[in-house]
């Protein structure tokens, strides 16, 4: 795809999913990122530190759609095409996908028991040519909001297709 074709994706909604933030998922994730802070495993410790429920580690929002996105929670019409909508055509001619950058903006704590809805949108897309290599950059932003619609966390995912 040339740059004009890639830029067509800007503004496209690529995902919409509702997840339950689960306590066991948080505990497992904390162990995977080498965090033994009891705030992630002990509800009394979380309470003593001012949290209404067990909080999630800071990079957990990147993976939570892989855990609690149960079928009955999802809106009619499914969960969107996902990044595959962009990556599919790019990968059709081979190449390599790299995770270039990742960012989080925290508006309020992510807590066990919350039900959050995340809407992902392509914010930017562009192509750079360098030494015979084509690098296609795609920036996707997902905003997770609570049941009242208040934003909880915004994640920005910057991927690079290199060919």
């Amino acid at each position: 795809m040339d740059e004009a074709a890639v830029k067509e994706f800007i503004g496209t909604e690529i995902s919409r999913s509702t997840v339950v933030v689960e306590r066991s998922a948080i505990a497992f994730f904390a162990s995977a990122v080498l965090d033994d802070d009891p705030v992630y495993t002990n509800a009394d410790e979380a309470s003593a530190r001012g949290f209404e429920a067990i909080p999630a580690p800071p990079t957990f929002p990147f993976v939570m759609q892989n855990w609690g996105a149960f079928a009955e929670l999802q809106a009619e019409g499914g969960q969107g095409a996902g990044l595959g909508m962009v990556l599919g055509p790019l990968m059709a001619n081979g190449g390599l996908i790299l995770h270039g950058e990742q960012a989080f903006v925290y508006h309020q704590p992510v807590l066990a028991g919350q039900t959050l809805t995340g809407v992902g949108v392509i914010k930017d897309a562009y192509v750079k040519e360098s030494k015979g290599t084509t690098m296609t950059f795609v920036v996707a932003e997902t905003t997770w909001s609570d049941a009242s619609g208040a934003p909880v966390v915004t994640t920005t995912f910057n991927i690079i297709h290199r060919k």
Binding site: A32, V33, P57, H99, G100
Partner: protein, 136 residues
């Protein structure tokens, strides 16, 4: 068990306690399960070799997660406002990875930190920035 830094005693140039860890293949499998990222490059050695990689390698988000662990131990859970990184290099089994987190700016209660993860040779794996609101 982890006492966050106090705003009143914090100064630009201060560094967070270093988290050091020797990466194992088991770490990669655990992160794959906990994250739901089953890209075979991170756990399936024959497939990684077939893709001309020297071995399986770590998830970028595992590197960011390790930095996040050291970061929250320093600023406190729930204190982060922003956290962003660029993935500079892959991580490999048996590498000794260490965090390096440095206070770069203090404005009111908002603290800006330079955050990095590097191996024993000083090769940087992730480079980024975080901001946090600290209590006095």
């Amino acid at each position: 068990m982890y006492s966050p830094a106090k705003l009143e005693t914090l100064a630009v140039g201060d560094e967070a306690p270093v988290l050091t860890h020797t990466l194992s293949r088991t770490d990669l499998v655990r992160y794959a399960g906990a994250s739901g990222d089953y890209n075979p490059m991170h756990h399936d050695e024959p497939k990684a070799l077939a893709a001309r990689q020297p071995s399986v390698f770590g998830h970028g988000m595992l590197s960011m997660g390790i930095v996040g662990t050291a970061l929250t131990h320093f600023v406190g859970v729930g204190a982060l406002e922003t956290f962003s990184v660029r993935f500079a290099r892959q991580t490999w089994p048996d590498e000794v990875l260490s965090t390096k987190i440095t206070v770069t700016e203090i404005s009111g209660d908002l603290v800006t930190l330079d955050v990095r993860l590097h191996n024993a040779d000083g090769e940087e794996k992730v480079i980024g920035q975080a901001t946090a609101r600290l209590a006095g």
